[in-house]
Symmetry: C2
């Protein structure tokens, strides 16, 4: 048994299993015609601690998964122009789509008898959309350039920022130190980063890359430009994280800023980033399944989980549909936006983790938030594929 544990803890074994699981996900998705992501998460649950216990959610796997999310958003960013993302209409969708789930999540938790602080955290966990899941489904369907897709991506980015603001606000409420200053400071920092980052990336870094592409450096080492580009992606991710945003907001911004770059001599930036994404985004999705441990579930918790998931889905659909209609989108596009904004993914999981670490919420609420976020993630690709294909 000891030898077995030692062998399965080897890095090569873990990567082998993670990638094999991802490959099996592709085979099943091909046979049953569903999104690859769902199968990757579901088989992740099977090989993870919940069932087979072949693989654990170690620090190293968390790091790989984190890189996967960062690269995925960078690659998605590369497919967008700056003006596609920054748009007042998307701001309205994001705002209404944050207020409605927060309020209803809070109310549901009150109904189930949780204390004030727990209720605040449940509301907060429902606010931020995980753009990675929806964007990947849209990418698989080849629908990234539609009006609805642009609205979803744009709103999800703003919504992520709003979600993180709500989180820092909630922590202040909990610790009883509400002051307007830090909150305003985070908002200002976020806005400055988005504007300055986009400007520097678009005006200077893009030009720098194109200029280096015409030198002998690239002629001799065609791979050097690709390394520089990935440096920029992680730099933006780092800056975003260091001012209190999610790293994926930063790498997405890097992708959008560099989307206009044309490489002639060096190795293709987009091809390279996509190859890295193929491996690491697969690990990210499988790890979402590994993260879920079902052992602590009891019947009352299952009921709360079901209600919570329903509230999470309905409030995002209603809030974002309404926001999209306000921005004069048609019925079908607005509903697509509503459905596309449903997945909570890693942001809700981060909120749950912070709550647990601060000792504010307990294991039962923690696992409910994690599973709610997983369920919305599993449901959305199914609904979205059916709805868009019609």
């Amino acid at each position: 048994m000891h030898v077995f544990e030692e062998l399965t803890s080897l890095l090569e074994f873990q990567l082998c299993i993670l990638l094999f699981v991802a490959f099996v996900g592709f085979v099943i998705a091909w046979k049953i015609k569903q999104s690859v992501i769902i199968w990757e998460i579901l088989i992740g649950i099977v090989v993870g601690p919940s069932l087979l216990g072949l693989i654990m959610y170690t620090d190293v796997i968390r790091s790989f998964a984190q890189i996967g999310a960062v690269i995925l958003l960078f690659v998605i960013g590369l497919e967008f122009k700056i003006k596609d993302v920054f748009n007042i209409k998307y701001g309205i969708i994001a705002l209404i789509g944050v207020i409605v789930p927060w309020g209803c999540g809070y109310a549901l938790a009150v109904l189930y008898g949780f204390n004030f602080i727990n209720c605040v955290f449940v509301g907060t966990a429902l606010t931020a959309t995980s753009v990675a899941i929806t964007a990947n489904v849209l990418k698989e369907l080849g629908k990234l350039q539609t009006t609805a897709a642009k609205a979803i991506i744009g709103a999800a980015v703003i919504d992520d920022i709003l979600g993180l603001l709500v989180l820092s606000f909630s922590i202040q409420v909990v610790s009883g130190t509400i002051t307007a200053l830090p909150l305003a400071l985070i908002i200002i920092k976020a806005v400055v980063f988005m504007v300055v980052g986009a400007l520097i990336g678009h005006r200077y870094l893009s030009r720098l890359i194109e200029k280096l592409d015409s030198t002998k450096l690239t002629g001799k080492f065609p791979e050097s430009l690709f390394i520089l580009t990935m440096t920029i992606a992680f730099l933006y991710g780092f800056i975003a994280e260091s001012i209190g945003l999610s790293a994926i907001v930063g790498s997405f911004l890097a992708g959008v800023s560099l989307s206009g770059v044309i490489i002639k001599q060096g190795k293709s930036i987009k091809d390279g980033a996509e190859y890295i994404q193929i491996i690491f985004a697969a690990i990210f999705f499988v790890s979402l399944g590994i993260l879920a441990d079902f052992h602590v579930l009891t019947m009352p918790i299952i009921w709360f989980l079901i209600s919570l998931t329903l509230v999470a889905c309905l409030t995002k659909i209603v809030g974002c549909y309404f926001g999209a209609r306000v921005g004069r989108m048609n019925h079908k596009d607005s509903l697509t936006v509503g459905i596309g904004m449903m997945p909570r993914g890693e942001v809700a999981m981060i909120v749950a983790l912070i709550g647990l670490n601060l000792g504010i919420i307990h294991q039962d609420l923690y696992i409910s938030l994690i599973l709610m976020s997983l369920l919305t993630t599993v449901i959305v690709p199914v609904i979205l594929r059916r709805y868009i294909s019609r």
Copy 2:
């Protein structure tokens, strides 16, 4: 200061610095016309704990570096056919090139007054060549398909196996439990793995990949084949490690076995693996610099280090030159083989680490072995480039 430390420990920051350092390595190598690897290691020393302390050798960085070495050897393996590697001539080069350094390393340590057990470890650390460095220099020079290059790669693979056998033998000497059985067992396991692995990879896995390439699975998900290929690379690495070899021997074997695969419909295996290698091999080389902490060095240790490095270089040149001449290679090719076999890299570092962990060697000897291995690594690209270019 606390905030600074918290920020620099962020994953995105570490990756950003590692990749930026690698990029600077490219720029300097372009201007000063040297191997990129040397600069990556040297700048790694500058940003690491020895000087700036911007980045530490954490578990996560070690994992990335390990993946880098595994992928690098996989990509190099893809450029070879099976018959290029398994050759009795290379076996002779490897064998003499292991015996001479072991004996002289042992003798040198005796001369410096180390005890018996320490002397055994010094000898062992000198045995195994690190093929990653030399192979990358040859790759940069476009000389991978020459007679000398094939001999170096082939001999280095066998030499790695021999080195690991010497290590397990040394540990038995130290613990006073020398029996012929376990040693014979490791040799048998290694030979069976190499033969069976090459056979299965070449006959069955290659065909499986080509067959999948013609199905609709690849038509729908062109990236799925690339994920399967990387799964095989890590699987071979895992098997190698689990039977007591180095993981890079396994991934190299996977590369060699799959080198004949022709992909028509799916994403290119070779392009994909190269993109992953660009990022992770760069991290591997920079991390070699980060690993070296100069703070424990004193004058007597520096003298021992210089002698050790000289012995390490000369014994490999003489041993492998002689082995190559026995195999009827000409003078220039034999000398190229001798020089190319000099770098010790990660294998010597692993030996040093095991010795330290077992409490057999102390910090002074540990740092000497690490720095010796780094110095041979830094010297070889300089000499090899000059010698081959003449």
